[in-house]
């Protein structure tokens, strides 16, 4: 499997298959980012594709000053922000996103292995951790999402947020501590017996 560097090099030369490889590598992260920002799977799909398409067309301007993944991530974030602005204008200020929208957050196909009881518990723990994320400060939520949901490394997060890596490391630790505190105080996240793996 080619490294990101190699795929980018070939894609910049017009190799569509190489770009397809980059899409494969990044689509889950990009789609979930769009999903988080719009709360809507259809919009998320369309915006993800638009982001990838823009990335393809803008490859000439990508100089490798950051990793492709982080460059693409920023691009996607901007595409979503612009979309939300337009939507807001169109609907006269009504928010397009509902972060409480359970449906939008997880689109997993129900796993047949789980009994209904265990499924309910698994859903509950997911609901709780999402609520916990929402309750965090912006700073804490942001780093945790980038690390836990988007899978970025400390180094990539540092570049995305323009921070020192040490700061990222310590901020994530504090974010986890804050989240844990929330989960201990609200609901039975740690006491439920459901296994999620």
């Amino acid at each position: 499997m080619s490294t990101e560097l190699e795929l980018v090099r070939r894609a910049k030369e017009g190799d569509e298959q190489a770009f397809a490889g980059l899409v494969e590598q990044n689509q889950s992260r990009i789609y979930n980012l769009a999903l988080r920002m719009t709360g809507n799977p259809d919009d998320a799909l369309e915006l993800s594709q638009e982001a990838f398409f823009n990335a393809w067309r803008g490859l000439g301007k990508f100089q490798g000053e950051s990793s492709f993944a982080t460059w693409l991530y920023r691009l996607t974030s901007n595409v979503c922000i612009d979309f939300l602005r337009r939507e807001k204008r169109r609907s006269g200020g009504a928010p397009a996103v509902s972060l409480d929208d359970e449906e939008a957050y997880t689109r997993e196909v129900p796993d047949e292995r789980y009994s209904p009881q265990r499924q309910v518990e698994a859903d509950e723990t997911r609901r709780l951790i999402r609520a916990g994320l929402d309750a965090l400060s912006e700073e804490h939520r942001q780093v945790l999402e980038l690390r836990e949901l988007d899978g970025f490394s400390y180094g990539q997060i540092a570049r995305l947020l323009d921070l020192e890596e040490g700061t990222v490391k310590s901020r994530i630790a504090r974010a986890r501590l804050a989240l844990r505190k929330y989960l201990v105080e609200n609901g039975n996240f740690f006491t439920s017996s459901s296994s999620t793996k």
């Binding site: 397809a20 494969e24 000053e65 836990e148 490394s153 630790a173 989240l179």
Partner: protein, 310 residues
């Protein structure tokens, strides 16, 4: 000996990255004696597990959809005969429209001498840098247009007056607006509200019977020339009834503008439309530039594209 605060960071890091042997050892010996931190580690691990179940699987068609769109774009680029990419056709068009512009200029000047334009012109004395007409090419074409000019102005002294009066009419309109003449004269018979306006005029000289007031309903901006303060040449001001610039035309204008400023032809800049500005005077765009975003406003009246970012 490590304290719990130091242990916190290592515990957290151990979920994300490998610890160094020294870190591993220090942490392990702390954990051996600290039930609180052992509990913390267990809790962090559970959170970590649940996090991994949150992300949704991307829809199956996502990747293919992207590649299809890329393929479609490639086809479109290959088959499209577009005047935009190369400068040469554009210059030819300037010359042609420059001729028509000269025609217009003669008529306006004629009207100006009669004092009719004083009100309009003076109002624009302090206006922002206009969408500049390429005066060099105008004057070059002027001699060519001499015949057409005389034909036009003799088409009826009365006629020379009425178009100007029509141009006069929209004084009540929002702002006096400046249009670069080549575009003003590029009006095909009848307003066309799309970005194709510029292209459709490529193969025709200005028809002798194109009514001048048509300029009022023009789609300007399809060929916005480089607008910079240093290029502030003479451009006559005409107040149109309405300059209806569509979003697509504005986007095209912006892409052209960016292309001109871009170094050795790379990929097209990526612009995203943000819609009409809140005061309705222009279309807003965000342009992805490397690792940042630059915002532009393309005014509806055809005046210079403005960069809104630092």
């Amino acid at each position: 000996m490590m304290n719990c605060d130091q242990a916190l960071e290592l515990i957290s890091a151990s979920l994300d990255e490998s610890l160094t042997p020294a870190e591993r050892q220090a942490l392990d010996s702390h954990l051996a004696d600290c039930p609180a931190c052992r509990a913390l580690l267990a809790d962090f691990q559970k959170m970590n597990d649940v996090f991994s179940t949150l992300p949704a699987a991307p829809p199956a068609g996502l990747s293919q959809g992207v590649m299809d769109r890329i393929a479609a774009q490639k086809q479109e680029d290959a088959s499209k005969v577009t005047p935009f990419p190369s400068k040469k056709p554009r210059r030819r068009r300037w010359v042609r429209w420059g001729a028509a512009a000269a025609v217009f200029a003669v008529v306006i000047l004629g009207a100006g001498r009669s004092g009719m334009l004083d009100v309009l012109v003076s109002r624009n004395a302090g206006a922002a840098p206009p969408a500049v007409s390429d005066t060099a090419e105008n004057s070059a074409a002027e001699s060519d247009a001499a015949d057409a000019a005389s034909r036009r102005s003799s088409a009826g002294a009365g006629d020379a007056q009425s178009p100007i009066q029509d141009a006069d009419v929209p004084q009540s309109d929002a702002a006096d607006q400046e249009i670069s003449l080549p575009e003003a004269a590029a009006a095909p018979a009848g307003p066309s509200g799309t970005g194709a306006a510029g292209q459709s005029g490529d193969d025709t000289a200005l028809p002798a019977d194109t009514p001048l007031p048509t300029v009022n309903a023009l789609t300007v901006g399809t060929e916005t020339p480089d607008a910079g303060p240093e290029k502030n040449g003479t451009s006559l001001t005409i107040a149109p009834a309405s300059a209806s610039l569509t979003e697509e035309a504005a986007e095209t204008a912006l892409l052209t503008y960016l292309e001109e400023g871009a170094p050795e032809g790379g990929a097209l800049p990526t612009v995203v439309s943000l819609g009409l500005s809140s005061d309705g005077t222009g279309w807003l765009f965000a342009c992805e530039a490397g690792d940042g975003v630059v915002h532009y406003q393309v005014p509806c009246d055809g005046s210079a594209i403005v960069c809104l970012s630092d």
